[in-house]
Subunit: 354 residues, 2 copies
Amino acid sequence: MAGAMNKKAAKLIDVAQRANVSRATAARALGGYGLVTDATRDKVLAAANELNYRVNELARSMRSGRTLTIGVVVADIANSFFNSVIRSIIETASKAGYQILVLNTDDDIERERKAVRVLIEKRVDGLIVVPSSQDEIDHLITSGEPDVPIVLLDRTVNSEAIDFVVTDDFEASRSAICYLASVGHIDVGLLVSVATASGHTDVMPKHVVWTVRERVSGAMAAFSELGLKARKRWTRYSQCNVEIARNAAIKILSAKPRPTAILATNEEMALGTLSAAGKLGLVIGEDLSIIGFDDAPWASVFNPPLSVIRRPVAEFGGAAVELLLEKIADSGLRRSRKFTAELVVRASVGAPRA
Amino acid sequence: MAGAMNKKAAKLIDVAQRANVSRATAARALGGYGLVTDATRDKVLAAANELNYRVNELARSMRSGRTLTIGVVVADIANSFFNSVIRSIIETASKAGYQILVLNTDDDIERERKAVRVLIEKRVDGLIVVPSSQDEIDHLITSGEPDVPIVLLDRTVNSEAIDFVVTDDFEASRSAICYLASVGHIDVGLLVSVATASGHTDVMPKHVVWTVRERVSGAMAAFSELGLKARKRWTRYSQCNVEIARNAAIKILSAKPRPTAILATNEEMALGTLSAAGKLGLVIGEDLSIIGFDDAPWASVFNPPLSVIRRPVAEFGGAAVELLLEKIADSGLRRSRKFTAELVVRASVGAPRA
DNA sequence: CTGAAAGCGCTTACAG
DNA sequence: CTGAAAGCGCTTACAG
């Protein structure tokens, strides 16, 4: 529509001259702040339109001190959970006029440090971080708060200084085990995804993220409440990968006796377990019951449908953004949120065979 | 490590003063350009470190004219295909020192226009866009090229003016139908995902994106090559949603006679078809053969495993970034890429019952 | 309600 | 190899 093929991109002064006003006035009309008469505003907007003017947000940010940009540092954007959460982050932020810079860390603390640094250098107004370590958090405290407001996502760290939005993973895991027990399962295996693992093992790696620790503790708590024992050979910590999870599940299911149910701590672990059951000829829901974390789109379609612990994905991302925006507006604000997960029971869980 | 609790963030002049050099020299040492002696550089870096200096990339960008930021405008970041592609975009870009601003459009042309505008205002160095329309592309040409280099992702538009990275969806679809025919299927249904639909219908909506058009044309081409007829009642265009796809598939499978195979054009359509088959008691691979697009993590685990058309996801995003970076470096460069998809045959396809 | 001037924090020519 | 000055394109006080 607007003026075609200008040699050079129009800037504020061009608009101002064409509208016969000062730059200050043009800026006020364009930026929608300060006072201008309707007539002046119209003149300026018309001029801007004719020149196909695009404000330079860099210059605007430099002067105003705000970039309207939020940095998101996430372990793995391709993971089905984070990926939905990021979608809701983008949606919520965009409604408030903010854009999102997304960086990926693959749970590597060095990449996380670098990511936070880059985002601070780009002067984001706030930071949403999925921290890859509970202890190595200097870069989140020294460089982060209070200079740049920050909200942790999905995991807390060993510090009271940083707000977070998480799920009650302890309780989620605990309730899953209790449910399994309620239908008769006393032999329950655990397939746990840990980012730092390569391959799979029966001992918990030293450095696991908060979420993993909570899920394992929750299961253990349930075991002890119920008077059950966790068996080492029924528990495996696996790299986050379907193939490897499958091998880990085969290992668990080859134990004698084998567990009659498995709790799988994410989508990859659940798929690995399902795959292993298929391989071993175990009928899911009869020979082996399975509960997974996160209600992926395929979970309810699977044959049989997979029981899952459903976290409030959309609210989760939205809540992180809202909290962050409040902190941006009020730098003293301190608040965290813990969401409750929901157990969705489907046919992948049945009573154990007698 | 560095100086704790400075009242104010250090800036270039603080570093320069502490190192007893001019701002220009400090900038050169810090930015790694121009000439400085090793001794000077060390002094400056030490000072920067002590002051916990973080360069202001806004100021740097303003002066240098580069933001080291790429804008990505995508239909749906939560879609499993785009989501993996975005991951590879982030990885490839980050290796070259670029960050990614991601905006979501849900295939809404107005949101796309706004997204492109915002990104240009933020002065991204280049744009990767999944265009939601083949014809409404003014915002990609007038505002986009040649001012800001742009690469289309996954879809082309009706203009020679814009470079793209796509898959040969026509051929992918054609080869899937030919394969089905080769094992005996002459009655083949089509379940097509279209963003603009609400519910499902048997006529192709007017405005469908390039990818959809190619996939449908490819299937039609195969039909006519093989002397088969596409039947309207075996073809449905569905909103991109598992539930709705399921209803659409039920509709297709309720026709008499019903098709013995269905080609589903994305993950949601495939899940809907699988779900419908389950509901109708059809044994997949026997009563009904299915081929889907995109090799989601669950596809090979499903019971039976789903045959899919696999697109080169990781290369795809990487190629878009590489092409864009070349265009950023050389504004005259014109190049596009078309990748070949691969048919992965699994047990969801079998010979039709006699 | 509008304008002239200063300044956000850097980098880029230009001298030396 | 280093420095003094100008300037990137806006917005923010300050006057009027």
